[in-house]
Each structure stands twice: as C-alpha cells, then as structure tokens.
Symmetry: none
C-alpha cells in the first residue's frame, strides 16, 4: 500500500473562507481534533502576514500532539532583499515549527504582472528563501502557487520554478490549482510529468471552483503524488479547498492508499463535525461519507432493497467512516445507536428493552424540536437517566424574570434577572445584574443555588454558543444554545432549544448544573466504597 | 463543437433528497425556470410509483415551454406479466409525454437478490418494456441502473442489458452510477467501451456519494457521452445527484461543448438560486460558479492582485455565469478593499482621500469590537454613508425595555417589549409581545415606525443568525447578530454586536430598517429624475 501524507489547512486557508474566523482557543481545539484524527501536518497560520497567528504558535508550544506536526506558512522573500532581512520570514521562523510551508509563484503572468519582478528575480526569491530556511534547520514544503495555470501558459518556466525549490532543499513539491479552474486531465498530465522528473515527493493542493477539487486530488495521487493538502470540512477561499474528509475516505476505501493512523477512519464523521462545530459553521449534511444525509434512504424501493442487502444502495458501509444508516420514512432508525449508552445504565438491556424503546421515543421527540445531542453528551446522559428513573431534580423553579433596558448608564449591568427556586421545601429568591439577560440570569441562578450546593463554586462556564435552527426563519425562529462547562476534573456540554434565546440558555444552564451535581455525588459515592 | 443534451431530474430524483418536497405549484414553477435556462429534458415524476405525480402532468399540459420537453419516469414491467397489463406502465403512459425514461437493472446481484428474477427474465423485462412503449409511439431514454457496479461484477451481463434496451428501440443509453461509488477511471473506461459499440447516444447519470459526481459526468463526456443527467442545484438522494449548474459551466467554459441555448449561461446563477428558493432549501453559497462565495475574495493579497488583473485569482469571469465579484471586508483585507465602495460614494476618491482614511479607521474600530462586514454589506454601506456625512437618522430611540418571564402560560407571548421613539419631534410609544424578547422588540419597533414610514410594511425578515464571538467566553460573551431582510426588489443583510443578544439584534434591526428607508428614497429620487 502506498503511503500518502495529509496536510490540513483549515486553520490557514480554511480561515480565508467567507464567514470563518477563529479565536486562538478555537484554533487549539481544532488542532487537537485534527491530531486525534491523525493527519500528518496541520498548517496553522501565516505569522508573516497576520501577527495574531503568532499568538497561536506561542499557545501551541504547550500542546502535546500524538502524531501531527504543526507547520507555519509564509511566502518567498520580498523582492530585492536578502532572505535574512525579510521581516515576514523572521515572523515565520519565530513560530518555532520544525517544518514550514513556503509558497512561491510558478505562473509568469503572476510574477511579472502581480508581483512586478523579473522572471529571474522570482527564481532567486524561491531558491534564496528555501536555502535560508533549510540553512536554519527547517524542513520545507514548497507550494507552487498557480502551477497548473502557469504550466498551461509557459511550461518551461513553471518547471524551472519548482526546480529552484527542489535544488534549494525543499522536501516536497506541492502543485497548486490555486484558482480551482483546472480539469482532471490537466492535473493528471502535469503531475505525472513532475513525478517522473523529481525524486522528492510531489503534492497536490486543489480548490473547488469547478466542483472538481476532490477528483483533482485523487487523479494527482493516481499520477504519483504522495502528499495531499485540503481542509477537513472543505472550508476555504471562494468555493473552498479540497474536502479532506471526502478525500481520506476515497483514498482509503476506494484506492487502497495508506493514510491517517489505523482505526482513525472510524472517527472521520465525528471529527469533521467537531471541526465545523468549533468553527460555528453550519455543517453541510449532504457531505459525502460524513454528512447526516450520506447514508439516509428515502425512496421506499431503496429502503426495501437495503433491508435485503445494504450493498444494494450503499457504496461503503457507513460504520467504516463512523457514520450511520438512516431510514427517513421508517421508525427503525436510532435504536441501535442508543444501545451502547443504555447498556452503561442497564447492563443487560437489549434492543427491545422498555428503556431502549422509551429513550428512542424521547430522542425522536427532542430531535423534532431541534435538539441534537452530538456534542451535548451531558444533556444526553441526563435524558437517559430521566428515562431510566435514575434522576431526581435538585431544585424546582418558581419563576424567573429578566429585564433588559437601553439606553443604560452602565453597560456591564444593563440587564437584571430575578430567580426564585425551591430546594427541599426551602425557597430562595435572588437577583443579579449582567451585561445581557442571559448573563444576569446565569448569575442569579448560581447565587440562589450556592446556598444549598456550595460545590457549584468551582464550576465555571467555558463556552457559550448560539445557533438559529430554522433556516429562512426570522427573529421568532428557534435557537439552539450549547454551553460548555468545566470544573477542575472535567468538561461537559449541555443543550437547550427554544424560540426564546433566554429560555434556551436557561435549559442548557440547568442541565449543566445538574450534571455537575450528579457527577459530584457519584464521585463521592465511589470514594466512599 | 459537440452537442450535449441535458436532463434535469430536480423534480424526480431531486425530490428524494432529505428535506425536499414539492407541491404541484412548486413543480410548475421549477419546470418554468428550467425551461427558461434551456435544459433539453425535465424529468418531472414517476407516475407509476407516485400517483400524485400524475396531477402535475395534468397541470403541465397547460404549460407553454420554449425548449424543454417534460418526461415521465418509470421502471421496467413487473416480472411475469405482459407490459400492456402492467399498471405502473399504464400510469407512465397516461402522463402523456412524448418521451419517457425507463430504468432497468444492469447488475446481476440486484436482479437476483433484490428483484428476485432470473437474469433472462430481467432481459425480457427490459426489451418488452421498451418495445411496448416505442410501439405506442413514445421515445425512450433508457437508464441502466447500477451500470458501473454491474459492469465491475459481470461485464458481459451488464452489456447484455443495454443491448436489450437498444435492440428494442431506446434512443439513448444512460449509464448510471446509482450508488455514487465509482471513481472517474472506471467511468471513463466503461463509457468509452459503450460508446464504441453503440450508435445511439450514450448518457451519464452520477451521484455524489464519493464527491465525484461532477468529475464523473465530465469524464463520461470526454469518453464520448452526449447526454448528461443531474439536478440543477445538486438535490437528490443521500449526497445528491450530479450538480448540473457546475457541469453546465464546466462543459461550456472549460470543455467547449454546446449545451443550453445561446445566452442562457448568464442566467445560470439566478435560475439555480430560484430553484433552491422555490424548493425552500438553503442555498449552498459555496457552490461553484453560482454561489455568493464563488467569486468572493478575502485575503488582502488576493484583493490586491484582483485589482491589478482579475485573471490572477478568478478562473472564469463571474459575469459569464451571471454572478458577481465581491471583496470581503475583513481584518486581512486592507485599504484597497474599501476603495471600490468609497468610489461609488465619492467618484474621485484615492487611497489617501480623507474619506478613505476615515472609513478604514472606523472599520478597524468596529472589527476590534467584533463586527465583520463580509455578508453584512448593508451595514457597511451605512457605515460609509455615515463617514461621508451622507446620512441622517430616521428616528431617535427614547428607550426600550424587554421583559422575559418563565413559566409562562402562553409560549408564543412569553416576552414583551416597549419601545419609545421620536421622529421629527413627534414621539411614539408602542408595545408588543413575542415568543422571545428579540421577537417582541422587533414587532414593537415596526409598530412604532409604521405610523411614520408606511413603506416598511412591505419589508420582511428572511433570516436571523446569532454567533458568539469570544470563544472560551461565557454567558457574558459578545454575540454577533446577522439579519437578512427583503422587500419585493432586493435582499440585504445587517449586523449588530453586543454582549447582550437583545442589543445586538436591536442594532442590526435598526440598520436593516434604515437601509430600507434610504433605498426607497434613492429609488424615488431616480424615478423623479
């Protein structure tokens, strides 16, 4: 089996996608997810053009990655300047990665018209930059920008540019279809030619402007490329970069190539979804292999045939990519899915146990309301405990009231909330201010509960996400709130759904607090045993 | 130039997509849009398996299509039955179309295991069905279901099935990658072989389960296919059918094939969007050629280069497919970016004009607060008008107050809002209820303003999005609200940012209303000139 290395550029090229922007902690979480999947390289930023990216590389020094290497991305040196004097390259080096990606121009039109340098100076910029970095002990992956367009215009010059990079010590020559306009036939021909000339590995970097990024990546591998660049969920400038989740599944399941770590393929769906979730980008459910619709069967004829033999309408078994079959018109979906979790609560449970039936029924109801428990496992666990009768409420809500006012003299306290709760017959009314109604409500609820449950003091909210569910909705549309909480031992996520963002937040907050209290009790119980 | 005929199956295979369902009037409107575009065939339903589809064909008899032919779709006759006795075929015929599409089995596994008939009987079913229909004067397009999987399993049998269809008078043999699992290399090889044996045109019908439907369709055309089936916006079972909008642009702009009518290509973006709009399916803005993001440039370097020459980062001119270039305002873009927009306000402005400097400065401030104007172009335009002194407020806010309460007896009215505004010295206080505080506030504000600006009555909110900006934030984190509004002429998007979701919504709402009022004035002014 041939080995193909993978570079994910979600954090760099993916951030060029419309509507995508990452905080430093988003970047950390995505890097951890990509490492979990087992990609070889994580291209994490361009410190030369975006100083904020350096902050991430500082933060990243603390990360312990199992397999993936973080790489910084930058361009060839500025014209008429020594590489050692170029501030962009200095920033790139200061990111502190062992490997760097350098992009340079292959298309004479870009060299002369856009960069405004001579064809010779461009070659010097490429070889100087690569030599300078290898001289510092860096390993260099060279991205030949616009290679295919450049080759179509002037093949000799395009080839000379990658010879300059290879001659200066680049360890991988990546042919880029930067504008996404090339057909597979051109990709195939050019890649075959380059792989026949060079002994260093050749890579492919495709964009999806013609709807061909996946095909172009695969055809390059067929023609000898051993390195593929893309973004896991297809984020990227314009129509996006080549979708790595699709490419990974095609390479492993259709072309018998070796990539990722063993067993990682089964995590493909979950990790791709996690990356989109962290980016807060709506997940494309029609995405091959990993989308919710990818193995969903609607036509009655298809459902019948699948029941006889799944091969009839499934090109690969969904479990191989961590996905699941769904029958849209029937009620059989879902039950197998919850078995695993139910058995943790009730070890002897089977598919027909009353608990399984109750949980499946309840899940269906909640999903119809807009709940989605992927990524909100603490709420799912509570739902199951409730279904199993292993739950008692920690408090009862009397009522809450929030008031928001503008203009306000003090922006940090523009909203107020009152909460009345009862614990074991004892009532507590509390009030708090906040910089918005959800904030005020959160503070008022904690204040009321801490009298009864002092352990809540070491719980804190890590993240708060809001998403509108109904597309084409208006200000009355339903929203889904996800709250991530943590204490010193663990982190957990809960969900709430409502047309009212305050109520949705309330539901998720209450789940979060109850999950914490239950965990504390279980923890103390185990310590007692 | 080779001619390639196109069959759009949005109304038949597209309706198998999750979340897609059409009323008869949706189907009529989509058929009209597809005819406007100039596809050759519109596959509009399967009257044999779905009696509701007959209703559409009755309705469709009144349609005057310029170019496209409606076709009905059905399967080969039932086993051990004369074609003339098959009720499914009777329904198909009663649809009254000149041309019909018949699908039959090419894969021996499906014949024996799923249909449960002998290989010989399957051949008889194919030829009987096609002969029967041609005998009635119908033209028959034959869809060879699972052809590529069938060919991989038993090439001789797969070839025999299409010989049966051709021998019985089918006018086109369509090779189907029904499960979407084939790689372009297999598609290419099989299609070339079939086109070399048969004199009737060969077609391709691809699904996107491996992310290769567009590539597979194009490679089939390269191998000699003269007919392509797909759905304009890529709707369809599981991951969808081959996306015809992408294929059309690739065929015409990259492969110099003749399809559609002359001039139709410029309507591609608009008509694809209209089909998604009628289907009420969220339009994928990253779609090649036709999406909002397809020609949007975000990286500063790309924006600079495009300004020098669009060829630098655009594989085709957006106007050719009826789309438009957009420069996204973002932290990575710079002063060049705003030039284009500023010049619309102040035609002589240069990079150093005070207005440009003011706008860039203001953008930086707003971005630091969490504003992001990509996709909120109406708010950006207002910001520029304010910077240029070409703005007066339409109303002043006295104050607003929102109250949310739980539990509530009436969920649709669990929140109330009061708004006091002043227009030209005249105050108006109004109140409204809603299913959340934002909803209530939106309604109260409109109610207050409509007295002064009755034109607001024809404005509606199309979409409402909320995103938490500071990740790692808590319930006091800042949120960004995007509101998309529309009237009968246009759609526009505005943005608001605050720690308070209600205030963020308020800001976006006010921008949205002001943008509408300014546009109305400009519109009237132009009409007056």
């Amino acid at each position: 089996m041939r080995r193909v290395t993978l570079l994910d550029s979600t954090l760099r090229d993916g951030a060029q996608g419309e509507g995508v922007s990452f905080s430093v902690s988003d970047k950390v979480n995505i890097a951890l997810a990509l490492d979990e999947l087992g990609v070889d390289f994580i291209e994490a930023g361009n410190p030369g053009s975006n100083p904020k990216d350096l902050e991430f590389f500082r933060e990243a020094e603390k990360l312990e990655l199992r397999h993936a290497k973080l790489v910084a991305f930058g361009s060839t040196r500025k014209k008429n300047m020594a590489a050692a004097d170029d501030p962009g390259l200095a920033s790139l080096v200061s990111a502190g990665t062992d490997t760097v990606v350098i992009f340079g121009k292959s298309w004479d039109f870009h060299v002369e018209r856009i960069l405004g340098v001579s064809l010779e100076e461009n070659l010097a910029m490429i070889s100087d930059t690569v030599s300078y970095l290898t001289g510092l002990g860096k390993r260099v992956i060279y991205d030949a920008e616009h290679f295919f367009d450049g080759y179509a215009a002037h093949p000799d010059y395009a080839m000379t540019t990658i010879r300059a990079a290879a001659g200066a010590g680049a360890e991988c020559l990546v042919l880029c279809d930067t504008n996404g306009g090339s057909l597979p036939s051109r990709i195939n021909e050019c890649t075959a030619m380059v792989t026949s000339e060079f002994s260093v590995p050749v890579g492919i970097h495709a964009h999806n402007d013609s709807g061909l990024a996946v095909a172009n990546s695969l055809t390059a591998v067929e023609a000898g490329a051993a390195h593929v660049q893309g973004t896991l969920a297809g984020f990227g400038e314009r129509c996006g970069n080549a979708n790595l989740s699709t490419i990974i599944a095609d390479l492993k399941l259709k072309m018998e190539m070796d990539c990722l770590m063993p067993e990682s393929l089964q995590r493909l769906s979950g990790i791709t979804r996690a990356v989109a979730e962290i980016a807060n980008v709506t997940f494309d459910e029609g995405m091959p292999f990993v989308g919710l619709h990818a193995f969903a069967h609607k036509a009655g004829m298809h459902v019948d045939a699948i029941t006889k033999d799944p091969v009839s309408f499934e090109h690969v078994p969904p479990s191989q990519v961590g996905n699941a079959r769904r029958f849209l018109a029937s009620e059989v979906g879902g039950r197998a899915l919850v078995m695993d979790r139910v058995q943790r609560l009730e070890p002897g449970a089977t598919k027909d146990s009353p608990l399984v039936i109750t949980v499946v029924q309840k899940l269906k109801e909640m999903e119809a309301q807009g709940y989605q428990y992927e990524g909100a496992e603490a709420s799912l666990e509570l739902l199951m405990k409730k279904a199993a009768g292993k739950y008692r409420p920690f408090f009862e809500l009397g009522h809450y009231r929030t008031i928001g006012e503008q203009p306000s003299t003090d922006h940090a306290h523009c909203a107020t909330a009152m909460v009345k709760i009862t614990v074991d017959g004892v009532s507590e009314l509390s009030a708090a201010e906040g910089n918005g109604p959800v904030h005020a409500l959160d503070r008022a609820l904690r204040r009321a509960l801490e009298r009864f449950y002092p352990g809540l003091a070491d719980m804190r909210l890590k993240d708060f996400k809001v998403r509108v569910i109904d597309s084409g909705g208006n200000t009355g549309a339903r929203v889904r709130v996800l709250i991530e909480s943590a204490d010193q031992n663990m982190a957990w996520t809960t969900i709430g759904v409502s047309t009212d963002v305050i109520e949705a937040s309330w539901i998720a907050l209450v789940d979060s607090i109850e999950y914490k209290l239950i965990s504390d009790i279980e923890h103390r119980y185990k310590a007692y045993l």
